[in-house]
């Protein structure tokens, strides 16, 4: 493990290029909170001049895994990957906090229990009206270390997968694909799943939603629990390998990146390249494989902009496709967002563990979005949607935030009605 940390960080020449890209460093301004600093600390653990102290843990945990540093580093160092490995190392040496262990090892890895707990949570949410901003039930949030006004997503009483048949046929079938739903669309935003399925079937694609799929593992390994993530990866691999499909579709950059790269690169699992090459983001599949251009559709917004989810743009390399689709919508103007590909501060569970930092990063993003004067911002990741909606709600500003697939699907529906 230590050798691994050394290998990952040895080529750093301390040029500092990565500092310019790091959203966390931008807020804190301390060298130790920059990617270059983290790389130095991790090397220090190997070299023996840095110990696994609380401060070290804090600095390693502050990384939001946006990969901006890795994209900048000319020396081929991936500070973000080094950080994930350092967390794994910490988990081995110091253990994983009990609460996370319960969630990762007990709830998420038990196939039925995770959706069941989410549903239970959904029920409780409705019973104790946590949703209202002034609900006294919110007093529990500060006790959990969260801001009083933290937005809590509504968990679904019936998950998306429960509601859907396993196979959704189409007329004029061109392709048959599997849809890897991911927790966000399954438990919180079922409209994303519906949009994906509608779009695909509309354009002649049969969709399979494998029953036994589980969480892709991102929240698990980003916390350093590689063992838990490996279990999930292997289960999912079993499910995905046995399907007779042309592609695996995701509508969440993190799920896509994890299947395409992290199972192999980070967790060291053998993933057949036939499988990884089949993974497509929904916008990527629509443009690159189906050559869809949705011209002449009219969505509700007049001006649209787009926010790049970190893992979609840097993990999966999907940059142009969503822009192409959104720009093609008639009667709307597409405007490019300044700093479109900088992190929104969502970062999976990051906003729960680091609410202040998450909010600071998010506010910058929200400001940039406001400057575009767009009335709708599209994006490709449920966590970004959650984060951006929260930023606007805190600021008391009304702005639509939607998944790209939802925007496209709405346009499609409006067209068919005409």
């Amino acid at each position: 493990m230590l050798n691994e940390l050394d290998r990952l960080t040895f080529n750093c020449i301390k040029c500092g290029y990565c500092k310019a890209a790091c959203p966390v460093y931008k807020e804190i301004g301390e060298e130790a909170a920059s990617p270059r600093g983290r790389v130095r600390l991790i090397r220090g653990v190997y070299g023996g001049d840095v110990s696994l102290s609380q401060r070290y843990r804090k600095l390693i945990e502050l990384c939001i895994s946006c990969r901006a540093c890795t994209a900048e580093c000319p020396s081929g160092v991936s500070p973000n990957q080094a950080v994930l490995n350092a967390r794994h190392h910490l988990a081995i040496e110091c253990g994983i906090p009990l609460i996370k262990r319960l969630i990762f090892r007990r709830a998420m890895t038990a196939r039925r229990m995770f959706p069941a707990s989410a549903k239970l949570l959904g029920f409780l949410q409705r019973a104790i009206i946590l949703q209202s901003r002034y609900s006294p039930a919110r007093l529990i949030l500060p006790i959990l270390g969260l801001p009083f006004d933290k937005a809590i997503p509504y968990f679904q009483l019936k998950t998306f997968r429960d509601r859907m048949p396993e196979v959704i046929p189409t007329t004029n079938r061109k392709y048959r694909v599997a849809y890897f739903v991911g927790c966000g669309a399954d438990l919180i935003y079922p409209e994303i799943g519906e949009a994906v399925v509608n779009l695909l079937t509309h354009f002649g694609v049969e969709v399979v939603i494998p029953r036994e799929q589980m969480c892709c593992g991102t929240p698990v390994f980003t916390s350093g629990d590689f063992e838990g993530a490996k279990y999930l990866a292997r289960q999912n691999l079993k499910v995905l390998s046995n399907l007779d499909v042309d592609a695996i579709i995701t509508a969440c950059g993190s799920c896509g990146t994890t299947i395409k790269h992290e199972w192999h690169d980070l967790l060291g699992i053998e993933v057949p390249s036939e499988l990884t090459s089949k993974v497509y983001d929904i916008t990527e599949f629509l443009t690159d494989c189906l050559a869809v251009l949705l011209s002449a559709h009219t969505p509700k917004a007049k001006t649209i902009t787009y926010h790049d989810p970190c893992h979609l743009v840097r993990g999966m390399g999907v940059r142009n496709q969503p822009r192409k689709l959104l720009s093609s919508l008639a009667d709307t103007r597409y405007v490019e967002l300044v700093g479109a590909d900088t992190c929104c501060g969502g970062g999976g569970a990051y906003s729960i563990y680091h609410p202040d930092m998450s909010r600071k990063i998010g506010e910058r993003k929200a400001d940039n979005i406001l400057k575009t004067e767009a009335d709708l911002v599209a994006t490709g990741c449920p966590v970004c949607i959650l984060q951006l909606r929260e930023m606007f709600s805190i600021a008391g500003i009304s702005r639509q935030v939607e998944h790209t697939a939802v925007v496209l699907n709405r346009a499609l529906k409006e067209k068919s009605q005409k």
Binding site: N11, I13, K14, G29, E30, A32, R40, S53, P74, S75
Partner: protein
Amino acid sequence: MRESILRKLQEISGSKYVLTAPEDLVCYGYDAQHVEHCPEAIVRAGSAEEVCAILHLANEEGLHVTPRGAGTGLSGGSVPAAGGLVLDLGRMNRIIEIDQSNLLATVEPGVITADLASAVEAVGLMYPPDPGSIKVSTLGGNVAENAGGLRAIKYGVTADYIKVIEGATPTGEFFKAGAVTMKSVAGYDLVHLLCGSEGTLAVFTKLTFKLLPLPKARRSMVGLFSQLTQAAETVSAIISAGIMPATLEIMDNVTIRTVEEFKKIGLPIDAGAMLLLEVDGASAQVAEEADKAASIMTSHNASEVQVASTHAERDRVWEARRSALAALARVRPTAILEDATVPRSQLADMVSEINRIADKYSLTIGTFGHAGDGNLHPTILTDQRDKEEMARVEKAIEEIFNAALQLGGTVSGEHGIGFAKSRYLAREVGPGTLGMMRTIKSALDPKGILNPGKIFTDQTT
């Protein structure tokens, strides 16, 4: 560091901005040069008053203080060689004013160079100095190192733009040097003494720079050569023909290969060398100069000349050049970048010397640099852990500097002396000049508290 000093520092800047955890100390012990020394504490100052108070305290207590911008220096200038305190200026990062009628910009020292460049560009102006580290380095660091950049050949270096410096003397007195007027001879030219002083004579807290109107047009091109010396000779030919490019850079084969491996932008990996050239100015003049430069390259054995026709192509060319150093670092674990500079006419000779030295010591050296300025960055690719090889590296560096001096050059074109090159300084400037420098230093900093161990060492005399 003593508790009582720490408490006073906390009173000055607030405890949030005084860092002493071991994790922080190691992260303020380096810059982009490869030698490290840990400080005993870090203060992140927020104002000129705080900086004065800190230096005042340092004089009372005999505490060493090393100013620090972004830590991208390549001569170890911000590395606290003698321990003590690192004074981080990064928090002071406001652009105070952009004065369009007088073409001036006033900033705090922690402003990132690229942030100023894009802020003035947004109003049709240009801040020309553009070091390769532009996205990261601070203007305070640029002034302290008199940083050059890719546009230095036509537009000059930081010293050509700095007008006013405010700050604290090593004893903690506030000062303001220079004037915003076009001309001024009111006393000694302290601005140009402080510019390039490497954090040893003062700490800057506010800087005013001259700006230029943004050129109307620019055009970039790349010329490929089978041999490095051919490319170097072409540089002189272009300048003698009366063309003054905004940028004229050179990259050798080793550099081309590694950048291509990293950026995948279609660089010709078998070319022996590449010249990267940009002309700017009024449209008609740009077109004429570009054509002329291209034909000179062709008549000087360029196997191919490619002119960038779109913005994207142009950006790619310069992105390639900017990543040169760090991309070279992929080849071997340790990259040692040098900064030898010769008169432009001697460039071809210097290049041959570097090749000869690389062969002699069986080392891999990637050479790139600001060819138009005669400023080369031979970068030795090695492994710090290999003792035997490192001994050869030391000898090679020695020979490179001697060669540069013999050709009438200097041991540092732009990165400064820091501690990395202090032992070569005397060789270049001689005892009289060195004595004068020492006198200035000890007059301004009688206790020697500001950035000790830099520029001068015991070996310098």
